[in-house]
């Protein structure tokens, strides 16, 4: 049975552009179904704003089913809101109550400049993936899936890391604005698999050092894991650290061979 929440106050960050200072503005949602998703609630707000001739609130979203990593939003001080292990698009109004005030802010990090309102540019995450998030594979027909045997626990660990949808919640939630969970996930995903071994140490060095150019440094608070819509474990950060040290040794040794 659907119920209706009444009298929700939204405090939303409005910012005209990257160089605007920005401010919170309050909006009243008189009534909303508890079956509405959080983003549907924002859609309805925008319909109303447009009908009043005002500017709609800009926010990122795409798949709306928790797989693309486009949605963001800091909701009541938590990246992706109060529900564990889900993205903003999977959050529903039943998590809230009538008369609540909900504060919505964009991700904040120097690597994520605000484009407008709640939308940020997360391109530095792509720079990290470009630096090493690939393997060398033969072109041509797809090889048989079971051509390279992989122990089940290894495949599982790699798949857990591969769940990362690149939303940037880890950076947003981290008190230091660090991207170690993202980078660790992208590294672990490939470094654990046989297919990833050829570039393993070049990947580790290149990805970590690209990360270094844009983001803060991990102090092991664990906020990233708590905010991650895929609940990726900070174990991948330990793996990142271990592989980075190994990479520094091995790459030097390999370079000295040429």
């Amino acid at each position: 049975m659907s119920q209706h929440l009444k009298n929700i106050t939204l405090k939303i960050w409005r910012q005209v552009g990257p160089s605007d200072r920005g401010r919170f503005e309050s909006y009243l949602v008189p009534e909303i179904s508890d079956e509405a998703s959080f983003l549907e609630m924002l859609d309805l707000l925008n319909e109303q704003l447009i009908s009043e001739g005002k500017e709609a609130v800009v926010f990122d979203h795409d798949c709306r089913e928790g797989i693309c990593g486009t949605c963001s939003l800091m909701i009541d001080g938590q990246a992706h809101g109060p529900q564990k292990g889900t993205a903003t698009c999977q959050l529903h109004m039943r998590k809230f109550e009538s008369n609540d005030t909900i504060v919505i802010e964009p991700w904040r990090a120097s690597a994520f400049p605000i484009i407008k309102d709640l939308m940020v540019d997360r391109a530095p995450l792509d720079r990290i993936v470009e630096a090493g998030g690939f393997i060398t594979a033969e072109t041509g027909g797809a090889p048989d899936a079971n051509l390279i045997p992989i122990p089940k626990p290894v495949a599982d660990a790699s798949m857990d890391a591969a769940e990362c949808i690149g939303c940037g919640a880890c950076v947003a939630a981290c008190p230091n604005g660090a991207a170690n969970l993202f980078t660790g996930a992208k590294m672990a995903h490939l470094n654990l698999l046989p297919q990833g071994q050829a570039e393993r140490f070049q990947r580790a060095e290149a990805m970590v050092e690209t990360m270094d150019e844009h983001f803060g440094s991990c102090t092991n608070h664990g906020e990233c894991e708590a905010a991650c819509p895929k609940s990726i474990s900070i174990d991948v950060i330990a793996l990142l650290n271990a592989d980075y040290l190994k990479a520094k040794f091995k790459n030097r040794k390999n370079l000295s061979r040429i």
């Binding site: 001080g77 802010e105 904040r108 391109a123 102090t219 608070h221 664990g222 990142l240």
Partner: protein, 297 residues
Amino acid sequence: MASRSLRSVGAGFRADGVVPSSLRRMAQTISNERGRGPVSGTAVGKRGKRKPFLIDFYSTAVGKKYVMAVTGIIGIGFVIGHMVGNLKAYLGVIDHQGSRAYDIDVYGEYLRELLVPILPHGYFLWIMRIGLIAAVLLHIHAAYSLTILNRKARPVKYQSSRDYQVANFASRSMRWTGIIVVLFLFWHLADLTWGWFNPGFEHGAVYRNLDASLSRVPVAVLYIVANIALGIHLFHGTWSLFQSIGWNNPRFNQWRKGLATGVATLIVVGNVSFPIMTLAGVIEYDASVPSVQEVSE
């Protein structure tokens, strides 16, 4: 940094509507703004002369965290050894070369005698001191530069209050507890090593100096507060260093929190006992006991 990132996004996102030159390239090309060619599996190695390994490693944030963890382990080792050594204060007076002496005074003298036939008197103690000073300086330098890096990574703070889920008081106060510990360290050395703040300080009379210092209530309180700060620092530090060094073994991970609690408790209970027991009169200097120097002469 901000402008660089903005340039790689779609033109529609630009507030000024100008199509940036980098977008006229193919969508898949890699931005070349840092002068790096397209990244391939073989092109990431750096050309030219390389910096020495440790300097190269330390120049990255991950490398600095390794240094923090290793210097932290040195610190933990010292702090535990130091605390256990001080427990000798509870052994009181012993028989030393046929005369009475405070056990802890004998122990202090022994530290200078470490490795003596191999090294001259007091040398090994100085080697350890230099190692500890280097560790503390590196630890502080890494903490300082990473703090600066982290500030830069979020120059505009969240404008609403954060609702932290797992970050705890210990993890969030590392910089403060660290600073308290180092300030205390200065006081502690000036008090019991150099004797500046110790009434009637006598070199080598460890038990006497300890009692003279800790019988003062404000000083006792200072020791208690500083050691609680140290315990909080080590509670997060002991857990955190496993992550920083990449010691992550699913079989042992469950022990890390317990170990951190154990180390922190051990240090706090041991160290806080000294001011409390001095105020309680358990540690009380008896001037009739000759000093170790007198015995040796």
